[in-house]
């Protein structure tokens, strides 16, 4: 068990990569606080963890709101007494070009994907600094490293996450805190069929496009979770400021 006695806070933990990570981290011995905006899904994710013998709480939280983030960290501290791992996973994606993207949609991408990462880290870091150690994992994307089509706000936000990650690594390395980004490729989560629908593509055609990568398939949420576990655990003790690409080779060429 790689996370015995650790406490992890995972945003967007009610579905997809966040939920898979919450389940895996709990299996590896962590007490998990998962946040999200959908209480029903959140309580279900929590129940899944408890029924496997793990420890978890659900915290309703909109990462765009400073006060929500502050309260979420406070609740982790009062429930578990410490915070070791923060996985800034919450994210949104609506496929549009610069011309098609509304101002509201731009704000939502930047506020959830990038500002949410900033806000939650802002409140979590003092707890980690006080403890003298901690790990932050920021969910970027392969599309935070290379551009994608009809994804202007998403790419901007995910590219920002990578450089935010590196800047935080520089600032807080001397304080015993590691900060890395994870860059998934297309993964089997609700976000993917959502994207297909918004692009007006048939699911089979969309999937065929996603499979056009060296490993010939999309990833599973559990595979991304295992990479997040590596970043969360002491196995990555000399890693900070790095972007771990987990994309079946999609950005290799």
């Amino acid at each position: 068990m790689q996370l015995t006695n650790k406490v992890a806070l995972i945003t967007g933990g009610t579905s997809g990569i966040g939920k898979a990570s919450a389940l895996l981290f709990a299996r590896e011995g962590a007490s998990v606080a998962l946040t999200g905006r959908n209480r029903e899904r959140g309580e279900q994710a929590r129940a899944d963890i408890l029924s496997s013998g793990g420890k978890a709480i659900f915290i309703a939280c909109d990462v765009r709101k400073s006060e929500d983030c502050r309260l979420a960290v406070d609740e982790v501290m009062s429930s578990f007494g410490q915070l070791d791992i923060l996985f800034n996973n919450a994210g949104v994606f609506y496929p549009h070009t610069v011309v098609e993207c509304s101002e509201q949609e731009w704000d939502e991408h930047l506020d959830v994907n990038l500002k949410g990462t900033f806000l939650m880290s802002k409140y979590a870091l003092p707890k980690m600094i006080h403890r003298g150690s901690g790990v932050i994992i920021n969910n970027s994307s392969g599309w935070g490293i290379v551009g994608g089509d009809s994804a202007v706000a998403y790419c901007a936000s995910k590219g920002g996450v990578i450089l935010l990650t590196k800047a935080m690594a520089i600032d807080h390395g001397p304080q015993g805190i590691r900060v890395n980004a994870i860059c998934p490729g297309d993964v089997d989560t609700p976000m993917l069929p959502g994207d297909a629908k918004m692009r007006g593509l048939k699911w089979q055609d969309y999937l065929a496009g996603c499979a056009n990568r060296p490993l010939g398939r999309i990833g599973t949420a559990e595979e991304i979770a295992r990479a997040a576990l590596f970043l969360a655990s002491d196995d990555s003790s000399f890693m900070t400021g790095a972007a771990l690409v987990v994309d079946g080779g999609g950005t290799a060429d």
Partner: protein, 257 residues
């Protein structure tokens, strides 16, 4: 013995010392049968004894990884001792601290042969075995200096940059055969190779090591830390990772400031 590499066969070049040795020990602890290739026979034998003493399985084959026939012999030995290779860690490497005008042609050739051509010579033998066996993981040793330039390290940077792109090209070619290919990009790691650099530069070891510690984490890496990153790439934990350059450098490349 249970572990994430139980039942796997791993071949590690430059496995008698430094990062290679730490990786050999770790992979064996995680259940792999390990084949260590190195020029240094006494160090290789000692690594084998250490692994066996801990209950693990390992053999040593003296190998010059720049010589095609040695590579052929090595791979045949690995397969006949243990079976089809699942993990290939192309770790063998050398460094010559010299700028282009300071660099002799012999040193250029030697650095390129050990750091880059060996990756080609071994991978062309092992990848077909992996394909036939249904898959595998190739880990190539690059460096932070395969992504960003370093001072007085022209041949080293060239070889390591080439390793990064060769890794990506191999990932593109062999993904469909379930062979994953990734590279490791360590920052300064406390090994004999690092300490020898001080000598090459004519610097006091203490001064050199202090410079090595200049990074967000504030110290050079330990061979075991790089080994654990290699383990991630070797195991199913990285099943969706291919064509990637895993930077394990205490934040050295994160930026300035």
């Amino acid at each position: 013995m249970s572990g994430v590499l139980t039942g796997k066969i791993a071949l590690i070049t430059g496995g008698a010392s430094g990062i290679g040795r730490a990786t050999a020990l770790l992979f064996a602890r995680e259940g792999a049968a390990v084949v260590i290739a190195d020029l240094n026979e006494s160090a290789g034998d000692s690594a084998i004894n250490e692994i066996k003493g801990a209950g693990g399985k390992a053999v040593f084959q003296r190998t010059d990884v720049t010589v095609s026939r040695d590579c052929d012999h090595l791979v045949r030995r690995a397969v006949s001792e243990f079976g089809p290779i699942h993990v290939l860690f192309n770790n063998a490497g050398i460094i010559r601290r010299a700028s282009v005008p300071e660099l002799s042609e012999e040193d250029w050739d030697r650095v390129m042969a050990v750091n880059l051509k060996s990756v080609f010579l071994l991978s062309r033998l092992v990848v077909p075995i992996m394909i036939k066996n249904g898959g595998g993981s190739v880990i190539n040793m690059a460096s932070g200096w395969g992504l960003a330039g370093g001072a007085r390290a022209a041949a080293y940077c060239a070889s390591k940059g080439a390793v990064v792109l060769m890794t990506k090209a191999m990932a593109v070619d062999h993904g469909r055969h379930h062979v994953r290919v990734n590279c490791l990009c360590p920052g300064d790691t406390d090994t004999a190779m690092l300490r020898n650099e001080a000598q090459q530069l004519g610097e006091l070891p203490e001064h050199f090591m202090r410079e090595s510690a200049r990074r967000p984490i504030g110290r050079p890496g330990k061979p075991e830390e790089i080994a654990r990153a290699a383990l991630f790439l070797a195991s199913d934990a990285s099943s969706f990772v291919t064509g990637a350059a895993l930077v394990v450098d205490g934040g050295g490349l994160a930026g300035t400031g």
